[in-house]
Each structure stands twice: as structure tokens, then as C-alpha cells.
């Protein structure tokens, strides 16, 4: 029986704005098994990105329990969360979020450097080769196309070989063809390192490529498809 890598229990997220409190997530509970690929879909404002960010520890839940890779992260400090992310979670954003003043190589090497891992640049160079950007290592983000930037972002997210990859609309800012290439790179690499993938998307075709599809509506899970088949797929 595979391990549960993500365990969410009664997650509630309320944000305060100048206009007053806003309920983003309402009592969401969810288990995701290691090695599973999951898509979270839903209309804008349904809370799917927030759910992903709660899993990443980027957003602190107002209430509830979050266990990632066997560790309860709900009470951790920002720095402890950063350490968990550095070790266990790779995140891919819709807007790439590369550091604009650093080259592709430096961006990919950054998490390794921050963790004090030696040969950060050698590892980063190999990763960029793997995503097909071996010739663009010294380019700055502004000198790269959207697809290339996203490949750099994926290489950066996977540089420490995390057991969990979280992707927020990874193809949302890209055209269809480029988006497909990114999906191929993302799924290919995930398979090679055997990581769990959770992605947020509007794209039903992308969602269909995953083992499991969770639909969100008004901060709640409205449907959860393929859970059993995924478990079956993993266990057989």
C-alpha cells in the first residue's frame, strides 16, 4: 500500500482584506498518495490555487491540519516551512517567477546554493540540458521565451529531486504547442524521479492526463474522480 504524501484535514482559509474577511477554503479534507498525479480544476475564485498554496506551506491555513510527507506543517514557522519546501517540495508557477537579475543557470542553482549543496552549478547545468536549454544557460529570463522560462522554472523546482511537485497552471501563460512541450517535460521528469504531482489547471485535456481529478467550487471539493483507479493503478 503506497504512503499518503499529502493529508489535509478540515482546512479552512479566511483572509482579511480592507473590505472584511473573505472565506477562501471551507473545511477541505483530502489525502493524496505518493506517486499519484492529481489535477485540481475549477472556475476562477473557487479556491484551487489557494488549496495548492496551502499544500506548499506558502499560505497558512486559518484552521485544520496539513501533513506533508509524514510531517505536520500546520504549526511550523516561515523558516521551518521554507526548509520543508527546500527539501520536499518543488513548485512551478503559472508566471514562472524566475529572479529577473539572474541567468537561467543561476536561477536553477539557487535552491541548491541556499541549501549549501556543493557543485550546485554542475547539477544546474545538467538539469538545463535535460529540459533542452543547454545552450541558453547564460540567458536572463527576459531573453527567454515563455516556454523556455517555464522550463527553467521546472528545472529549478526539480533541482533538489523533491518527492512532491506542485504546479500552478503550468501552461496557463503559454500557447497550445508550447504548453504541450512543457507538459511533456514536466511529466517526463516527474516520472524519472518518481515524484508525486499535484497541478492546478483550467485545461481539461491536461487534467485528463492525471490519475485523479479534484473539482473545486466555492472553496469546497465538489467532486473527486479517479481516486480508486489511481490507487488500483499504483497497487497493481
Amino acid at each position: 500500500m503506497p504512503n499518503t504524501i499529502i493529508q489535509l484535514k478540515d482546512i479552512r482559509l479566511t483572509l482579511t482584506s480592507r473590505a472584511g474577511p473573505v472565506e477562501i477554503l471551507r473545511d477541505v479534507s483530502l489525502d493524496i498518495l505518493a506517486g499519484q498525479s492529481t489535477a485540481i480544476v475549477g472556475p476562477s475564485g473557487s479556491g484551487k490555487t489557494s488549496l495548492l498554496m496551502v499544500m506548499a506551506g506558502l499560505e497558512k491555513a486559518t484552521r485544520g491540519e496539513i501533513v506533508i510527507n509524514g510531517k505536520d506543517i500546520s504549526g511550523l514557522s516561515e523558516d521551518q516551512l521554507a526548509a520543508v519546501r527546500g527539501r520536499d517540495i518543488g513548485i512551478v508557477f503559472q508566471s514562472f517567477h524566475l529572479v529577473p537579475t539572474m541567468t537561467a543557470l543561476e536561477n536553477v542553482a539557487l535552491p541548491l546554493e541556499l541549501a549549501g549543496i556543493p557543485d550546485a552549478f554542475t547539477t544546474a547545468r545538467t538539469l538545463l540540458d535535460d529540459v533542452g536549454l543547454g545552450a541558453r544557460v547564460d540567458h536572463f529570463p527576459a531573453q527567454l521565451s515563455g516556454g523556455e522560462q517555464q522550463r527553467v522554472a521546472i528545472a529549478r523546482a526539480l533541482s533538489r529531486r523533491p518527492p512532491l511537485i506542485l504546479a500552478d497552471e503550468p501552461t496557463g501563460n503559454l500557447d497550445g504547442k508550447t504548453g504541450q512541450q512543457i507538459v511533456d517535460v514536466l511529466f517526463g521528469l516527474r516520472e524519472r524521479i518518481g515524484a508525486t504531482l499535484v497541478l492546478v489547471t483550467h485545461d481539461e485535456r491536461l487534467a485528463a492526463m492525471t490519475d485523479r481529478v479534484i473539482r473545486m467550487m466555492d472553496g469546497r471539493i465538489s467532486s473527486d474522480e479517479g481516486k480508486r483507479s489511481a490507487i488500483r493503478a499504483v497497487s497493481t
Binding site: 516561515e78 519546501r85 527546500g86 535552491p111 549543496i117
Partner: protein
Amino acid sequence: MTVATADAPILKHGAPWRTIVGIGLRELRGGLSGFQIFIACLALGVMVIAAVGALGDALRAGLVRQGETILGGDMSFARMHIRATDGERKSFDALGTVSETSTMRTMARRLDGSEQALVELKSVDAQYPLAGNVEMAGGGDFKAALTGSSAVADGMLLERLGVKVGDKVRIGDAEVEIRGVLTSEPDGVADRLTYGPRVFISLPTLETTHLAKPGTLIKWRYAVKQPLTAPSSPDDLKALRQSVAKEMPEAGFTSNDRHNPSPQVTRVLDRLRQFLILIGLASLLIGGVGIANSVATFIDKRVKVIAILRSIGASGQQIFTIFLIQILAMSAVGVAIGLALGMAVPAVVDYFYGDALPIRAEFSVSPASLAIAALYGFLVALLFALWPLGRTERVRASELFRDAVSPREGWPQPVILAALAALVVALFGLALLTSEPRSLVFYVAGGLVMMLVVFSVLGGLVANAAQKFPRPSWPPLALAIRNIGAPDGLTRSVVLSLGTGLSLLVAVALANASLVDELRGRLPEHSPDYFLLDVPKQEFPPLAARITESIPGTQLTVAPMLRGRLVKLKGQPVEDMKVPSDAQWVLNGDRGLSYTSVVPEGSKVIEGQWWSADYSGPPLVSFDVELAKKLGLALGDVVTVNVLGRNIDATIANLREVKWESLAINFVMVFTPATLQSAPHNFLATVRLPKGTDRAAEVALVRDLGQKFPTVSTIRVRDAIDQVNTVFAKVMVAVQVAGSVTLIAGALVLAGALATAQRRRILEAVILRTIGAQRRQILAAHALEYAFLAAIAALVAILLGSIVAWIALTRVMELDFVFSLNAVLLTLAAAGLLIAVFGGAGTWAVLRARPVPYLRTE
């Protein structure tokens, strides 16, 4: 594929330092954008401090390098009244080649008596000068020019008397021919502040003038040039001087050597330097507001990067360190620019004002001066950067997908607060170490903190009031008020930057006005019109009669006057004493001494009793109460004064409060008559003419006195004050230039604040224009907003600047405070100009901006 394995070696504490430094510097590739104001503010303050240090070093180096010339030899020994005895002269001759000179104030007259002028007479022997040269207009041999009954005089004397080279003038009883016009004198600095043109004669000629009588105020100076082989280190020369002093313990000579040829000039330089360093520090601290604004803006712009770093596992400490490194790198740039500019200042000053300086500046910058300036720069940069930098810890990774919903403001972490406290202590400690008098640091620090607090609070109050203000119906006014009340608006930074800069401007302007008023406007009402020096005792009654006959109603006061030197206080030699710097002057060289049986005019006995009119016991002295306190003297203490080569021990019988500014005859020390009566001396008299005395009658009286009493020197108080004013005006220019630096700092902060808000302002204007607002409406709104902010900052600055000036004048300078409308108008004009220039430039850009790019990118 090769991916770092999960069990790859991870350093215990994460990335090593150099990696973090590398990341910090790498992230700076975005350029200096946004740091210009940061660097400018820092560079300006560091420049002032470095420039002051470098200029001080250059002048000090000049003083040391030219020490021999300034002093007229390796060492000098000086004494009032009495020429060296044969025995004393022998002691000097044993040290090397000796040159004897004497200086005194006296009158030079045309032979027909129609014109006369006070001159600074310097009589020299054949050896003079031992170092340097006396230069005359058109060249010529100085020594040859002084053979026979002749003189070399400053051109100003020729002008005043209307004579030319070859003409004769009368000095004392002698007729001397002017053989040349003096252009430079090597050892002029070693003599005191001069009130008249210099005239050189030879010592034999001085004999023929019959001016050097017992009791005449004449200073004899012996310059010694050692043989080349003699040891000449500072310690050697000091030891030699001390051995001479030991040889003739009661001779009363003041000695100096070329390593510190003029302690007075050195002290003035030190005081000026310390004062200007405080001005530099003030401009640095005002600039600190700009630094804080820049860092806050920088952190705001880097929020996404910080969030990215957080999302990939960077700890708060790592992120803080990365940005701290960037701030330190920028600080290094600002400090380096400031140091470079500061080091260039002495050369610029020397090029433009070299002739006005008492000594030539030599290019020399001590590492200590640069280190102090750099240290100030880094401390201030960190002090103002740490708080906004602490915000990095509040940036959350969720900013990557959602704008901040909760504010990032708030108190920084305790460790940052502790660091800030340590920086304040370090900065204060450094200021205390490098400033004199120490009380000034407390006043400056107190004043600055008061200003920063007052204007911060005022900015907040104005913004809050604007928020609550009912919306006016006129759109531009409504817009202006809304802008003033906007939470992220300009109000706080404009009020703070403009307010602090203007407050200092007001304070300097008011202090200046009060000082000028004190010297120029108020004195003549209370002070005499003339001082008469060297009035022989027996000549005073006929002189007084002559004056009151010529101009009836004239008031005369007279006091005996000798000059003497304090050599011991409570039995301790003054050379070994450490006294407060503002009392040091009393111990430097000789002072005027007097005696009287009654309390002098303008004095009040505060402690003890005045002696009886017929007192004839052991010597008693009345001491100025304030100086006595500073010197640690009390009733019953014994002070030793050397007068005419004799030490006199006198017991302090009472302490007097002296009103110096009245310019009545007054002395720090007044003795019982029996103490000094028998010593040869002359009188000092003051003449107060009746109000409305005709100038022609006054001139005639002075001319008449000159003819009847040729040894008496007449100093017109107004001329003397003008002389002081000329010197004072130069000092005030320096102070004003330094003061205006603080305004420039304020202007930089203002420019920075306006630049920060510029994008938001343009966007706002663009949106207003898309919905039909006219340019003139936007212009009116901006003008109203700026005018209101400038007015409120200026008005409070006038109030605060007046308080600061009042404290500085009444507590530090001990002068009366006088309010000056001109200073106020100057402030309002400066406020108007600054806001018009910076605000106007900003608004111009706002009105010219093309809307489309702004609308697309938002």
C-alpha cells in the same frame, strides 16, 4: 538525468557565507536603479565629514610643514612688557641663532599731524627673519630697507595716511621714512589678531621712538633656530623648552616650537572641524530619512523576488542577509563617492580661497579622518536601512499569486531592534569621541531627534486630518485633500524631509541674525566709542581734561592695565592641567590684569567680599565667576600670576559676574591695589562720546590727542568691531555653506520621496485624463497639495528652528536671541523654491506622460 540526490551533503547551517554574499551581489545586477537617492544622501553626508577631516588634516599638515616659518624658527619664547635680560638672552643664545622682535599697537601719523592710524608695530633685529622671507612690493631687500630710521609698511597704512614710499611718518617720537610696501610676512600668524596695518622698523629705530617704556603693552619675542645637527623631534624641542623654563622659573616666557607653532590656530581649527563634523552628521541623519525611504521602496520592488526565494526554501535569515549585503554594497558605493568628493574639497578650497586661509593647506589626508567619515556613513546607512530591511521577514511566499492582503508594516524582530539600539549607541559614542564640546553633541542629537519626531508626528496628523476632512465640491481641492490623506501618499515624507531641512536653515539663519545683531546693532549703544591704550598715569588728568573740554559731556573711565600670565592654579603649573576647552584661552599666553579698590563697572560680586578701600595685606584677587568654575577655582584658592618677570601668589577673595559684552573695561582677574600698584604700567581708558557728536569733531579730537599725547594709541571701537565682523562674516559663510548642506540633504530626501510616488501619480493622472479631467485641473490639484504641505512644513520649521536657535544662542553661545523676519522670509522662499522645483518637475512629467503604456501595464 542527473539530479541532486535527496541525501546530497547539506551544510549544517545551509549555504556558506560566501554563497549568500554571491547571491546578494548577483541579485544586484538589476543596477543602481532606486538607489540613487540612497547613494546621494549617504555620499553627501560622508562628503561633508570627509571634507572637514581632509581640510583639517591639510591645514594641520600645512601648519606643521610651515611651522618653522610661521614661528620664525624652531622655537620661540615670548613675554609681555619686559625685554629679555642679559642672562635670559644668554640662555636663548645657547640654543642656536636667536632673532629678537617686539610687537605693539601704536599710532602712525603724517608729519603734519593731519592724519593718523593705529598700526601693529613690529620691531626686528638684524637676524630677522630666521625662517622664510619678508616680501615687499616690487621686490627689494627687506634688511637693507630697515637700515637707518626707516620702515616697511602695509599698503593699507599708506592709503590711510595718504603717503607714498619715500615719505616720512611719525611713530612715537621718531620720524621714519617708508622704504617699501609689505606684501607678506612669514611669521604673521604667530602674532595675535591685528587691528591695524603692519609696520616694520628695526630695534634701534624703536629706541628712537621712545615707545618702549616700562609698563607699555609690548610683546618681546625670541625666535631660536637650532644648529642643523641639533636633535629636533617634537619631544626634543619640548624638552629643550622645558629646560629653559626650569632655568628661569619666574621669567614668565610663553614658549612654542615649530611642531605646534600656534596652539591658538590649532585649537580654532579643531573647534571648527568638530563643529562642521556635527553639521555633516546632521545632514547624514536627515539624509537617513531618504535612505530609509529608498530601502523601503527597494524592498517593495523586490517583494516578488523575496517571495520566490521563500518558495524555493530560503530562510528568513538568508533572505535578510542577501538584502543586507546589497544595502552594504550600496553603502560602500555611497561612502566611497563621499570620501572621494570629500578628499577633493581641500584642493578646491585651496584653489579658490587659499589666500583667505591663515596658512597654506598641504595635501594630506589621515586614514583616521577617512575612517571616521566612512564609519559615520555605514552606521547611519545601517541605522536607517535596518528597519525597512526588517520587512523582508514579513514577506510571505503567497505574494507570488496574490497581492499582499495584510500590511507588511509593523515592528521589526527583537534582534533588529537590538541592532538598531546598538547602532544608536555606536553613533552617539562616535560623535562624542570626535566632537568638542561634548555638550554640543547632546544638543545636536536632542535637536535632531526632536525634529524627526515632531515632523513624523506632524506628517501623520496632517494625513489623518485630511482623511477626515469633508470632501469639498471643487474637484482639484478634493483631489488634493485626498492625496494628502492617502495612506501611501507623500504627506509624511514631504513634511519630514522639507521640515527638518528648513528647521536647520531657520536655526542657522536666526543664529546668524542674532550674532550679527549682537555685534553690529546693539553694541554701540552700551559700549564706548574709543579705547585709549598705553595712557601714562601722569598723562591721564591732562588727557581727560583735553577731551572733556573739546567735547563736553564725554564720559571717561580708566583702569590700570598690565599684562601677565597665569602660571599656576592652586600651586599646580597650568601646563600640566586639563581644563575645559572653553576655558583654555585664559591659560594661553598673557591676559590683561588690573587693580582697583572698588568693584569695577559692569561687574557684580557673586561670592565672597570685596576688599576694603585701604586694604594693604597679602595679594588678593577677584576672579570671573564662570571661568573660576571652569578652572575648578573657589574662594580661598591661590593663583600664581607672572607679571613683569615676577611670580605673584594671590588668594581669591571673591568671584565676580562680568558682563563682557558691555565692552566696559573689565578683566578676568582684578587685584588689590597694593599688589600691582608699584609695578611700572600704563592705563587703559574708554571714551563715550555724547549722543549725536559730530563726526568731524570726533576726528578733530582724535587728531588733537595724537599730537598732544603721541604715545597713546586710539582704537575706534566701531573699527575694531568691523574688523571682528570681517572675520566673523567669513566664519558665518562657512557655517551657512555647511548649514545649507543639510538643506541639500532635505532636498534629496524630498526628491526621493516624490520620485517614489511618481509612478502612482502618473497612473492616477492618466486615469483622470481618460475620464475627462483637464490638465489644468490636475495641475491645480498638485499645486494645492504641494503648497499646503510646503506651508505647513515651513511654518512648523520656523517654530522649531527658532527653538533650536534660541537654545543654541542662549545655552551654548550665551548670547541674546533676536527674532529675524528676514530669516523667516528666507525659509519660506526656500520652501517655495524647493517644492516648486521638485514638485513642478514631477507634475510636468505627470502631465506629459502618455497614457497607453501605463494603462496596458497595470
